[in-house]
């Protein structure tokens, strides 16, 4: 069983932050799963500072990996894209400011699908991150590096970002815990936007309580993000409460075509476990789920086409030479963006174009409203929803690279959550042929407390999280 935050804190007290951080750096060094895009050269310095200044924050000395699309002052932030090679942000994201204040040691930036576009971390310019349970398989995406690093014991905790399942998918594939908070619960200031109306920064760890502890640090109000909402945090406060009387809704539509039988069985077993713990379940219907995927991709790509316009080689990162500015910008984008990014920019540009705007973009917004209403209706009767996080366990590297549509289909159970903006957590609920499977627990707006409590109860009463991946060194 991998160390959790409390174990690390004990180790720091008995030795030093420097020693603990050094031990994790050594693990990263020895590993070959390609979870990091860069390591912070000052990691040891940060740890020494914690030791010498006696910093007492809740994460004092705890090493953390940060997805490479979250801005870190003085540390390269590339979104795993060649276009941002060499870009070092002059400022910290809100979550980084909070982590530094809490004493955390930013140990490095973790690998991801280029600009968050993907479900497997295969579109990274640095190559794919390998799944610690089976290195021939993908780690999931787009926060593949953040999940794999946690599952392989290279860091106890990490941050990812979730636009359509990007935290939950790799958490499920790597057997980690990953939370997508309510839209507006965590400031996006400093997160390089892919599809800004959908994405949230979310924590990953090997324990539910560690995810909650991280939320206590990062989930605070920030006036630099206009979509950030003032709310009562206290994510760890009610973690120990039981699930007696908890009303679970099981949406039929999340167990549809394409969901692996083993995965279905494991999720139903998990729901059974909840019944044993005093919860009850009913089947609920979320009738607009079948349209969510299409709407999601239209909205995400439309926003991406606009968000990625700023990468033109003019001010930062990597540029190609051209005889005038439009050739320079054009060649930069042509040569430095990967295929998936270009595909999404083109599709998004098309969807927003005059003449197609109403047919695609506006229609997608309408579907989004309907999907949202599905959730609002469901939460009138139940406290949480439960479903498989991913339809299958991790697939093989390269298996779906030439078939983007089938890859997009694997997001079918995660994207409705982002369209609605509700919180959702993925926790390990068993293994299918040696590969981890994730249970998704979805909550009402700003009711992270309930899904964290449910996930924590499940974890306490099961032993899936105690198993170690093959790549733990």
């Amino acid at each position: 069983m991998l160390d959790g935050l409390s174990d690390i804190k004990n180790r720091i007290v008995s030795s030093s932050a420097e020693e603990v951080v050094a031990s994790y750096l050594e693990r990263i060094e020895k590993s070959n799963i390609n979870a990091f895009t860069c390591i912070a050269e000052d990691a040891i310095e940060q740890a020494k500072k914690v030791d010498s200044l006696d910093i007492e924050g809740p994460l004092a000395g705890v090493p953390i990996a940060i997805k490479d699309n979250i801005s870190t002052k003085g540390l390269s932030t590339t979104c795993s894209s060649a276009i941002l090679e060499g870009y070092v942000p002059p400022y910290d994201a809100h979550v980084i400011e909070r982590l530094r204040k809490a004493g955390a040691v930013i140990i490095g930036k973790s690998n991801m699908d280029e600009f968050g576009m993907g479900t497997s971390t295969e579109t990274s310019t640095y190559g794919p991150t390998l799944n610690p349970w089976d290195t021939e398989r993908v780690a999931g995406g787009s926060s593949g590096g953040s999940a794999a690093a946690v599952a392989a014991g290279q860091v106890p905790v990490s941050l990812g970002s979730d636009t359509g399942g990007s935290v939950r998918c790799p958490a499920a594939f790597c057997g980690a815990v990953g939370l997508k908070p309510t839209y507006g619960a965590v400031s996006r200031y400093g997160l390089v936007s892919y599809a800004n109306s959908l994405e949230q920064i979310g924590p990953l760890a090997n324990r539910v309580e560690d995810v909650a502890a991280l939320m206590d640090v990062i989930g605070t109000y920030d006036n630099r993000d206009s979509t950030c909402v003032k709310h009562n945090a206290g994510y760890t406060d009610t973690l120990q409460d039981g699930v007696d009387g908890l009303k679970i809704g099981v949406p039929d539509e999340y167990f549809g075509e394409g969901i692996d039988d083993n995965v279905q069985k494991l999720v139903w077993d998990a729901i059974g476990k909840f019944e044993d713990m005093g919860a009850e379940y009913t089947k609920v219907s979320m009738p607009n789920t079948p349209y969510a995927l299409a709407a999601y991709y239209i909205i995400a790509m439309s926003e991406a086409s606009s968000n990625l316009a700023r990468f033109d080689g003019t001010r930062y990162g990597n540029r190609s030479e051209g005889e005038n500015w439009h050739m320079m910008a054009s060649k930069t984008r042509q040569e430095k963006f990967g295929a998936e990014v270009k595909r999404r920019i083109l599709l998004g540009t098309y969807a927003l174009s005059a003449g197609y705007h109403d047919k695609y973009y506006l229609k997608a917004l309408k579907v989004r409203t309907l999907v949202k209403q599905d959730f609002e209706r469901a939460f009138e009767d139940v406290d949480v929803l439960m479903a498989p996080t991913m339809p299958t366990p991790a697939f093989k590297i390269g298996e779906k690279m030439d078939d983007p549509l089938s890859l997009y289909l694997s997001d079918v159970n995660t994207v409705p959550i982002n369209l609605a903006g509700v919180p959702s957590i993925s926790v390990p609920c068993g293994f299918s042929e040696g590969l981890p499977v994730g249970l998704q627990v979805i909550g009402n707006y700003f009711d992270e407390a309930t899904i964290l409590k449910a996930a924590h109860s499940f974890e306490k009463n099961t032993d899936h999280h105690t198993k170690l991946a093959a790549e733990v060194v």
């Binding site: 942000p89 400022y91 993000d225 979509t227 606009s306 990468f311 930062y316 910008a329 705007h357």
Partner: protein, 476 residues
């Protein structure tokens, strides 16, 4: 009088006004006071469009927009929203401009101007908030420059784009509309027109119901009038040849005074507008009443008040209120001296001297004006002497009393004038003869001679009286 608009000229204007009286930019905390600063010194990650940055709307900019809307008699929208206007340009750091699209903050207003045939209403279609881009700086001339530098100091400055209906029927009406608009905006204290780039104009022109052309980026009111004059002439010539005007975007070459084709309709951008997800819609309807209360007296109201309070003529009232700084200057002067005299001195004399020198009212101070008017009123100097003092102050500086002393402008009275009158009568017996013979004009000549002797420091009217008295007494 009815203005027939014989050529069917229709002019609509789009005016970009920089809200340069705000302390900070539209979406970040950067200072707006960049006009004398080094390039790229008033920038932050937000206005540079660095990856990961998010906009936060400047609340005061929204209030200013509502103020402007109210002053232009517009409807104020209940809820504002921002859109992204996507296009590529090196000075546009995000690759899109954050602006307002289908829900502009204010719409459907009106401005009354002095038209070709009396009062004329120009309807305001809408006014919306948006951000200014940066500026391109070429090294030397644009075609020989080895590279282009970008200054992002201006990036993110708050703009209000005011769009009129095509209600203006001549370049002169367009110019008057622009002047009136600037006038109103300065009264609102939302912008300083003296700063570079504070007001930029695009004009739409059509004649006789034909297709319209748009002339972009005109930087002055005078330029707008000239561009329109040229464009109307050009369109008339096309029609005269029996051809049709094509819808296109044109550029005004300020130096040559001509408009040049930039792009025709086919090449127009598809801006792919969509709602800005990073800025949540904001309900502002409830702000309106509070802002209405703080709205200052506007030019038209002030003009009426000047007429009723100070009893001045309309031309003076118009001249004094067409620039808020002049109006404020006048009222300060009028509070200390006779308002009627102040109206004449400020409106007719001082403004004329300022215009001649292309100076603003800031070049003159209230104390000096008051002192000068007092000197005239008390009879210490002549009107001519007063004008000389004003000119001297504008050209070389100094205070009224110093100039009076230095130039010997104190009015001469009594003995000196008496003496001069006596001398002139003695020296010009022929003129006196003529006068007795009934030639009234020769009296003027005699008075003139006295003025000459006293170097203009005597009061002509009293010289005339003294002259008649002396003739009666000693020459009859």
């Amino acid at each position: 009088m009815v203005y027939e608009n014989p050529d069917g000229v229709m002019v609509g204007l789009e005016i970009h006004v920089q809200l340069n009286k705000l302390a900070t930019k539209l979406f970040c905390g950067c200072s707006t006071d960049y006009h004398t600063s080094q390039p790229n010194t008033h920038v932050c990650p937000v206005c540079m469009g660095l990856p990961g940055c998010l906009p936060v709307l400047n609340k005061r900019a929204v209030e200013y927009a509502i103020r402007i809307g109210l002053a232009l008699n517009c409807e104020i929208v209940e809820q504002t929203q921002f859109h992204r206007k996507n296009y590529y340009y090196p000075d546009l750091p995000k690759g899109f401009q954050t602006t307002q699209y289908d829900y502009p903050i204010v719409s459907d207003g009106r401005v009354v101007i002095e038209g070709e045939d009396g009062e004329h209403v120009v309807r305001i279609r809408r006014a919306h908030m948006e951000e200014d881009p940066g500026r391109l700086m070429h090294m030397g001339s644009i075609d020989r420059s080895k590279g282009t530098l970008i200054d992002y100091n201006r990036s993110g400055m708050a703009l209000i784009e005011i769009v009129s209906e095509p209600d203006m029927r001549s370049p002169r009406e367009a110019r008057r509309f622009l002047d009136k608009l600037r006038n109103i905006l300065e009264y609102l204290d939302v912008f300083d027109s003296t700063l570079e780039g504070s007001m930029r104009v695009d004009a739409n022109i059509s004649i006789g119901g034909g297709d319209r052309t748009e002339v972009k980026n005109i930087s002055s009111h005078k330029g707008a009038e000239r561009a329109l004059l040229y464009e109307i002439m050009r369109q008339k010539n096309i029609k005269r040849r029996g051809e049709e005007v094509v819808m296109e975007t044109r550029h005004f070459d300020e130096a040559r005074g001509v408009t040049i084709s930039m792009r025709t309709k086919e090449e127009e951008h598809d801006y792919r507008y969509f709602p800005e997800p990073d800025l949540v819609p904001m309900r502002v309807g409830s702000w309106v009443d509070g802002i209405l209360e703080t709205l200052p007296e506007l030019p038209d109201a002030r003009r009426s008040r000047f007429i009723s309070d100070y009893g001045m003529v309309d031309t003076h009232a118009k001249a004094l209120t067409s620039d808020i700084r002049v109006a404020d200057f006048y009222e300060e002067v009028a509070s200390k001296v006779d308002p009627a005299a102040a109206a004449v001195w400020v409106s007719d004399v001082l403004k004329g001297e300022l215009n001649y020198r292309d100076l603003t009212i800031a070049s003159f101070n209230v104390e000096n004006m008051v002192k000068i008017i007092e000197l005239v009123a008390s009879g210490k100097i002549t009107e001519k002497g007063a004008v000389e003092i004003i000119r001297n102050i504008l050209d070389e500086g100094g205070s009224p009393m110093d100039i009076v002393k230095e130039k010997g402008l104190l009015k001469v009275e009594g003995d000196v004038v008496d003496e001069a009158v006596g001398e002139v009568l003695k020296e010009n017996p022929d003129a006196l003869e003529d006068y007795f013979a009934g030639k009234e004009k020769s009296l003027n000549f005699l008075v003139g001679q006295v003025m000459k002797k006293t170097r203009g420091r005597a009061d002509a009217r009293s010289v005339r009286e003294m002259m008649l008295e002396e003739i009666d007494k000693n020459y009859r």
